[in-house]
Symmetry: C2
Subunit: 446 residues, 2 copies
């Protein structure tokens, strides 16, 4: 039997590796060899000396782990970061976000927002994000260029006059065809919400997803008003109504899932529906707390999500996991969501929720080399008694030293390798000045 191995392209060596594999292996003095974007092998070897024919990432004294997964965001609107805060959801959306989006919504706005978001995500250790926004073809193109893996969900909200429903699927055909060329991008359908589309269109969406084997990404049970309205209009809960149209037979991922009954929780758990927990956005908007502990006990895989920068206002998953873990301790009691479980949600369980665990979420032979190197020498990381506790309660985005996706280093020693960071930031600042003026103008017009 020949065991001819593929050529090694790069090697990450010397670190302690948290694999997040099924055995939760933690490997010290680890050597990760990478070939063609995938992990070829991981083993422990003291005094390893890398070959000078391959790219060598010296990670001695560092921690290496799977790249973090952001299960729900809207990167196309990153230029609206903090444009209108501390307002009730309705005012925030109707008086600020929607009017601005109507004026600004174009490919250029979404491209630049995506570029800026990718910078922030690379810097804070996110290697996969599940997105939902308009002009998602621009997001797909830009994320692929920036080197960040993404599930791009072309969204749709049925507002009369904006876009004809009959043209939606034609547009989807061309979107899914166009993005096939981007190797880091997976397409998805992202119908906005149960209330954002007509019943007829929802049924057509599910049929389209079935036909093309697409994942559906939607907002679910974010507020009490939403759930009450559906129950009043349709006589069933959102979960039941979605069941009636066959949504749960498709690959699905649902953001928020706050207002759930015990029956809803059992059902979602039994069907193993992917749920995204966005604690910072949910609390900032005053919506409530996702029943994460109960959903996980019922069997649903959970991912953390930041939501968009307009309701957070950052894309930092280290902050999100700290926040979200403590919120669950408050809701359910200490120890019901220990740090290790939250790190699962940031990695392998998050990947499961997004139906991507065949490819990412753990560091194992054959999986994509999507990983981060953490410098654990900052004062807030010292002493370090438990890796998972450190990651959840102490780690900062600034601890991320290197970020790699599909074997490509995107950041090394906190320097961007594949983009001109200053040019992106300068352009975003210029846009910011114009957006601020536009917002003032729109507010003054009432």
């Amino acid at each position: 039997m020949t065991s001819e191995k593929k050529k090694i392209d790069s090697v990450v060596w010397g670190a302690t590796v948290i694999t997040m594999d099924a055995s939760l292996n933690v490997i010290s003095d680890a050597v990760i060899t990478i070939s063609n974007g995938k992990i070829q092998s991981i083993f422990s070897q003291k005094d390893f000396t890398p070959s000078n024919r391959v790219e060598s990432i010296d990670a001695r004294g560092c921690l290496v782990m799977p790249g973090l997964i952001n299960g729900h965001t809207h990167v196309g609107m990153t230029l609206l970061r903090g444009i209108a805060d501390d307002l009730p959801l309705h005012d925030w959306l109707r008086k600020h976000i929607f009017p601005l989006e109507r004026k600004l919504g174009n490919q250029e706005f979404v491209s630049l927002g995506t570029r800026l978001a990718c910078l922030e995500m690379i810097r804070s250790g996110t290697t996969l994000f599940n997105d939902m926004y308009y002009f998602e073809e621009a997001t797909a193109k830009t994320a692929n260029e920036m080197g960040v893996r993404s599930i791009c969900g072309q969204t749709y909200v049925e507002i009369s006059g904006v876009e004809k429903a009959s043209e939606v699927f034609k547009k989807f055909d061309s979107f899914f065809s166009e993005i096939q060329k981007y190797k880091l991008i997976t397409g998805a359908l992202a119908p906005h919400s149960i209330y954002g589309l007509s019943e007829k269109l929802w049924i057509e969406m599910v049929a389209y997803a079935r036909q093309h084997d697409l994942m559906i990404h939607t907002h679910l049970c974010e507020t009490k008003e939403e759930v009450d309205r559906i129950k009043a209009e349709r006589g069933v809960s959102p979960i039941e109504w979605f069941d009636s149209i066959g949504l749960w037979e498709r690959k699905t991922v649902c953001a928020h899932a706050i207002e759930l009954t015990s029956a809803d929780i059992s059902f979602l758990g039994k069907r193993k529906v992917g749920i995204v927990y966005n604690p910072e956005s949910n609390l900032k908007l005053g919506n409530g707390i996702c029943p994460v502990v109960e959903l996980r006990a019922a069997g649903a895989p959970i991912s953390f999500g930041t939501d968009g920068t307009a309701s957070n206002n950052n894309l930092d998953l280290f902050r999100e996991v700290d926040f979200g873990t403590k919120i669950q301790a408050f809701k359910y009691g200490v120890g019901k969501l220990p740090a290790l479980e939250s790190v699962k949600m940031l990695t392998i369980e998050g990947a499961k929720a997004l139906h991507m665990d065949h490819l990412v979420g753990s560091l194992e032979e054959g999986k994509s080399a999507d990983l981060i190197v953490l410098d654990i020498s900052a004062p807030h990381a010292v002493p370090l008694y438990d890796w998972y506790s450190y990651l959840v309660y102490s780690a900062s985005q600034s601890d991320v030293r290197d970020t790699m996706v599909a074997g490509q280093l995107l950041m090394k020693n906190r320097q961007m390798l594949r983009c001109d960071e200053k040019m992106i930031l300068d352009e975003a600042l210029r846009w910011g000045i114009q957006i601020k003026e536009l917002n003032t103008l729109l507010q003054n017009r009432g």
Copy 2:
């Protein structure tokens, strides 16, 4: 009239300054001149050219604000960061923290913990911390050496056999006499809690505070059990009992204040009792949410606090303010604690809560030059539509470029100027290895 001014020692220039003064002045192209540790003047001047005879801090493109205030922490125990997480309060304290403290509690442990905490605080923009721990004379000496302003509260818990109550005040006398030589240190009394001392000793503490005009720093109404127990034993609420012994006539600052009735809130507000809100610790330990919005409406000044690293597990006030503001939106609704109000709590209102607003909390002529320079060029800070929103919802500890206390730069361009950071971290790592072994040993012994 002669207007002879004192010699200027240093000047911070070119930034936008958030003063947090009574008018909430925001000054662009600001020049802050500093003499003898105090702010001599602040004015706006474009194209300012600093004299080469004074220390010049070029802050063009940056944001300058008062240094952040940590209203409640225990820096002496920083070496126990994350030693035991996700455990109920009782197990955490009795099985881990208390046994470790009994073995480790000495000057050296407290000195090194303080040194490590000061590093983290300088890096994350904290210039004043209100501390409560054992061996506080070591904390005072070390904080003063590190250049960080501190209120050092010598704590006392009446546990039979550990220390005779009769000797407490002799010890206090020598503590307050000893720390007079440290110019950045203010002494305080820190009786642990209503349940931690006998009634007799509490009465003596209040008398001692009156005699020496000392602030009293204590834990208040942190858990329901604590409040229920006091009510059962003494027939009144903790607030009422403290009133009966005259505590509220003294300068007081109370940490936590979670389990309060409406009457308690009105009372504390009317008496303008300083309260410290520790959202991360309170939720991590599953204790609940301080009624910040109601306490402020009633008139009580509030400071943010991180609590100790064993229940947080970081000393990062940027994370704390983000967390704490969103928690209040969840508890009271969006907009009840807008970002500006939270920034007040981090600065001038925090200073009021700690009875230090004559000296710090805002950037004004005559106040101490305790300030931080923030680099606002990171992706998470772009675009920046509102200063306060940025500070609360987007800013990261790593944005802090320079930290100054009493006119002395402690960090410049993220380099420590007054201590050997690597030596402190190495020593802390060495202690960490020993503490981990000790903890394992103590656990195995049961």
